[in-house]
């Protein structure tokens, strides 16, 4: 109960600071509206905002699921197959280094203006964090565990031994690292979805924000922004809780 109370109090304090800044600085409402105006708009147009939230939320979650799957597969392949490593590692770095907005129009061209170009953007953004984190974990498997497992599987063929070690030792040992990557990915996936919407869309919070901006409806812009931020936080907390439950053996100083 006290955690909920703390969260509520913190929110109020932050909103208070926001409103205080707006009053004291006298900043124009079309640059930064106060929280009261934003909340009024949020309530008045909640149907519109929630509808667009649904679209963006879909893009984010799908992006996370697909991106995570691809990232896990890529990390395993890069680790296990030297040829895959030679091609895969540079590609991995490129996927991170290329600014997404440069690729966004291409994605929209290939995948259309609907859901999938935004999902692709989100996938692109989270691919690197997920893959590198998991790959790091795979690389850092304790040699002692590997020695033991090697001896125990000495009668297997080299291929079956590699698979056994990967499946029973390396992957489980690397799961905490993967979890770290997933936490990062959950934090940045919303960016991919929204940037995708900015490039071309007919729905979503990013689209709504652009529209509101074009019509100088800045309070609607901030209302949409606020909802997006809230969703992102809730998503992150959910993923974090899920991960903690999935990895009960991993010591976690956040665990109560």
């Amino acid at each position: 109960m006290s955690r909920l109370l703390t969260a509520v109090v913190t929110t109020f304090v932050l909103l208070g600071l926001w409103q205080g800044y707006v009053w004291l600085s006298g900043i124009e409402p079309f640059l930064l509206p106060g929280p009261i105006a934003v909340i009024e708009t949020l309530i008045a147009r909640h149907e519109l905002i929630l509808r667009h939230l649904g679209t963006t939320a879909q893009e984010i979650v799908l992006g996370l699921l697909i991106g995570t799957t691809l990232g896990i597969a890529a990390a395993i392949l890069i680790h296990a197959i030297p040829a895959a490593r030679r091609i895969g590692l540079p590609l991995l770095v490129i996927s991170q280094a290329v600014p997404v907005f440069a690729l966004a129009p291409l994605l929209v061209l290939w995948l259309g203006y609907g859901l999938w170009s935004k999902v692709a953007m989100a996938v692109l953004i989270i691919f690197f964090p997920v893959t590198t984190a998991f790959l790091d974990g795979l690389r850092r498997t304790e040699p002692g565990m590997l020695d033991l497992a090697s001896i125990m599987s000495a009668t297997l063929s080299p291929f079956r031994r590699t698979v056994a070690l990967m499946l029973h030792v390396r992957i489980p040992a690397a799961l905490p690292a993967l979890a770290s990557g997933l936490r990062v990915a959950t934090g940045v996936a919303p960016i991919g979805a929204v940037v995708g919407e900015w490039v071309g869309s007919s729905a979503g919070l990013g689209y709504l924000m652009l529209h509101a901006n074009g019509r100088m409806q800045i309070d609607l812009l901030f209302a949409a922004l606020f909802v997006l931020a809230l969703f992102s936080v809730l998503l992150w907390l959910s993923v974090d809780a899920l991960l903690r439950r999935a990895l009960p053996w991993q010591p976690d100083s956040f665990a109560r």
Binding site: G144, I151, T155, W249
Partner: protein, 253 residues
């Protein structure tokens, strides 16, 4: 100390064999760790490799295990290949933190894709006195308990050759003594090659003590204390052995 109550000494394993190590050399880059090392490890008894830290004992053990390659041969005295007949117990307990004690004991069959014999696994845990801990994760067990699980796992593998690399160095002195007793009892009749830096440990539980010294490492001498293991160490012969070992290690004039 002595044997844990309620257990009985392990019967001699069938198909026991000794080891013939010939001309083993291991180098890491420009540094030669072992040069042309040869040793006979008798079947069915415990041989300790004693030497100062960093001399290459672990390297030798890993070479014997086949984890590293190099010139020289490692042969079983019955001429058959070693793969599948060796069990390893390392410095850390090597327990996988995401599996409970029983699943750790059953790790070998899991890796090999065989059906796990849960009853036998539980029996092994019972033999080391941890039947109640079967569903506990390693993080909830003490250091000594974890090493006992590792010992149960080693027993589960039921291999005639057991290689151990300072397996009891990470626990406190009292637990170490208890574990030594347990190991001596559980591994009786198997061919054991154990690495240690503690002369007392060697005196307590081995049938032959091989001293390694020098750079690159060579065998300087071999001692064969008599009597049943685990031995008492407050006897004259024990103190005698200790003096001889310290001399061999170059610690005494």
């Amino acid at each position: 100390m002595g044997v844990l109550p309620g257990t009985s000494p392990e019967a001699s394993a069938e198909g026991g064999f000794g080891l013939a190590l010939r001309g083993l050399s291991v180098a890491y880059g420009a540094r030669t760790i072992l040069r042309d090392l040869s040793l006979d490890v008798p079947a069915g008894s415990t041989t300790c490799l004693l030497g100062p830290s960093g001399i290459g004992k672990s390297t030798l053990l890993r070479r014997v295990a086949g984890l590293i390659d190099g010139p020289g041969t490692v042969q079983a005295t019955d001429g058959r290949p070693l793969a599948g007949r060796v069990a390893l117990m390392g410095q850390g307990d090597g327990l996988l933190p995401w599996l409970d004690a029983l699943d750790n004991v059953l790790l070998g069959s899991r890796l090999r894709g065989e059906r796990a014999d849960r009853d036998r696994g539980l029996a092994m845990l019972a033999r080391v006195g941890l039947a109640d801990a079967a569903e506990s994760r390693p993080a909830t067990l003490s250091g000594g308990m974890r090493q006992r699980v590792a010992l149960a796992r080693t027993l589960m593998e039921d291999c005639p050759l057991v290689l151990m690399d300072e397996p009891f160095s990470a626990v406190d002195a009292l637990t170490r003594l208890r574990l030594q007793d347990l190991a001596a009892e559980m591994l009786a009749g198997r061919t054991v090659l154990m690495v240690t830096h503690d002369p007392w440990e060697a005196i307590r539980i081995s049938h032959a003590i091989t001293v390694m010294t020098g750079d690159p490492a060579t065998i300087s001498r071999t001692l064969k204390p008599d009597g049943q293991t685990p031995r008492a160490i407050d006897t004259d012969s024990a103190r005698d052995h200790w003096r001889q070992l310290m001399e061999a290690l170059g610690e005494m004039a």
